[in-house]
Symmetry: C2
Subunit: 343 residues, 2 copies
């Protein structure tokens, strides 16, 4: 009998297979403007941008965040990277009997604070409790609805593109690839706290709601695609965008921002930082002539101070990295996630 494996939920190649084999063949959308089949960050139907995520992060509290902040920011980001503004959110929680009330309260407060920062509201929810031993701690599932950003149409005019949304599939050869800051902090902060490696003084999660940043980029204009780089890291995100757009990419290793402590931790643990998850990073495809303008707009925002142009879209169908020593290597889609339960 075939069974579900951890890698089926890890955002990499195995999860892609599961989605294509089972989910897309069972759920067929006919009326959605951006359907499930696009496997984009959100779907769009009847003018409403709609997305959901379940969160099972372990530990529930980690450096610079917790499952509540993660759940709100993660779902807000899936709305924002479509070129939309979050309107409202739902929160459904399943807790283990015996879960400390004080932890529950901290998680709620953290959700409320993150929603306030993102200028959205939690307007509906559900609470379930299961008997001890049948769930570890808590599962938090958020959904969000959003509306097209008022700046999106003008953004596409500036990019000289005819498109309605920031889709993973809208990259064209020549587009610049930008990121708003350093990679791999979230995954390393989680694994360090969970396993007691002791990196967590130096490495903090980057979890943050990015809708404010995205709005500034759209005002600047020229963005053609955006995707937040969560499970599977930027290796997964770049490959997903390249595959859906039918293009290749050239990434300059030297330009990819990474904090020294995070790089050291990755080296010590034998992990490729490109495959480590982030929770406050977005990859943007930008029309080449607008790349510098969008980069400056990123750097003006608190969540984009360390932004960089990390590469460009090419003809072809591989994500290729020019290494710091001058060689080239293919960056592939990770099979699973090297660190489980990061979100």
């Amino acid at each position: 009998m075939r069974r579900i494996a951890l890698s089926h939920g890890a955002g990499g190649r195995e999860m892609g297979k599961l989605l294509r084999e089972f989910i897309l063949t069972t759920f067929k959308n006919s009326r959605a403007e951006v359907p499930l089949q696009a496997l984009d960050d959100s779907a769009v139907m009847d003018g409403v941008v709609f997305t959901t995520d379940s969160h099972t992060v372990q530990p529930v509290f980690f450096p610079n965040g917790d499952i509540g902040k993660l759940a709100v920011a993660g779902t807000v980001n899936d709305i924002a990277v479509m070129g939309a503004t979050p309107v409202a959110m739902s929160v459904a929680m399943v807790m283990e009997e015996g879960f400390p009330m004080e932890h529950f309260q901290r998680i709620l407060q953290s959700m409320a604070a993150c929603a306030a920062e993102a200028q959205t509201e939690i307007i509906t929810g559900d609470t379930k409790v299961v008997e001890r031993g049948s769930l570890r701690d808590i599962v938090v599932t958020t959904a969000a609805i959003g509306r097209k950003s008022p700046h999106l149409a003008r953004n596409f005019e500036i990019a000289e593109r005819k498109q309605q949304w920031l889709l993973d599939s809208s990259l064209e050869p020549g587009d610049a690839l930008l990121i708003n800051g350093a990679i791999a902090d979230h995954g390393i902060a989680i694994i360090s706290k969970r396993e007691g490696y002791g990196f967590e003084g130096d490495v903090q999660s980057d979890v943050a709601p990015l809708n404010g940043l995205m709005e500034e980029l759209l005002k600047e204009g020229g963005v053609v695609a955006a995707k937040d780089a969560t499970r599977g890291g930027i290796a997964n995100t770049l490959n997903e965008m390249a595959e859906k757009s039918g293009v290749g990419m050239l990434i300059y290793e030297e330009e990819v921002p990474i904090h020294e402590a995070t790089l050291a931790a990755c080296e010590m643990l034998g992990l490729d930082p490109l495959t480590i998850g982030n929770e406050g990073k977005v990859i943007c495809g930008v029309a080449a002539e607008k790349a510098d303008g969008v980069l400056k707009a990123m750097r003006r925002h608190p969540y984009g101070k360390e932004a960089a142009i990390i590469g460009k879209v090419t003809e072809g169908n591989h994500v290729v990295m020019e290494t710091s020593v001058g060689g080239k290597r293919i960056v592939d889609t990770p099979v699973g996630d090297p660190i489980p339960r990061i979100c």
Copy 2:
């Protein structure tokens, strides 16, 4: 240290306290038309009806349904009982590593079939897998968005009420109370299958999407309030509506539909059927002069064949039941749910 108990997720009095003490004080809505504070079946903001539910039912497969059908129908019903039409749904699943792929596939097919019956579509989702031993089977969280039913305005005109939605708080003394069929089947089917009591040949879950039925009632006209009777049974639903509307109720025990096998099972297990959960039953408040018309409309629908007028709204603040032997007793809000994990 205070800890979360099973009753905090059971839909009864303890859950109400948790919601009021922690959730409503932390999440404050300012912009919603129907806010979280209403604790209604869905919220409404920016013209969108929005709701979510996490499902943890044990066993995952039960007589006449499974967690997939339950998740889709439950969320569709929360949209429908507001007077809205479901537009689209999200599904987020968290599975235990080792969960049989075949079960996963059956659950997906069941969701797709129920969504098709409800004429809605699953357009976005998420899949997570957690390590063995940290979650039992699967948690399925659905969210749905909906739009005001095209028949709602005319329905309120016929009821001679000035209101925008079918709220728990819109009952007035004199309104008739209707239910679309027999109570307690779902909870008894679940507990029987789980514990191996052997009632499940005769007692099947009533899980069903009720949006088609609700649409017919709105076309008939005169409905003023509606609520699906899930956790805590109709005892919980009636008390919640009475409390929010600031009214009392008189329920006629003889008129409350219940199947013989279900009643026998309740008696054998020492359970009050009024407190046992349903997944395909709605309590409707109807303007008195339209009660017969709405009853007939219910009975014409496949999910309303055994519909009945079970009581009326009164002045006062208690739900009182006139028993079959002519006495009267107060029907109180259950403290928790006598059967855990029914949804």
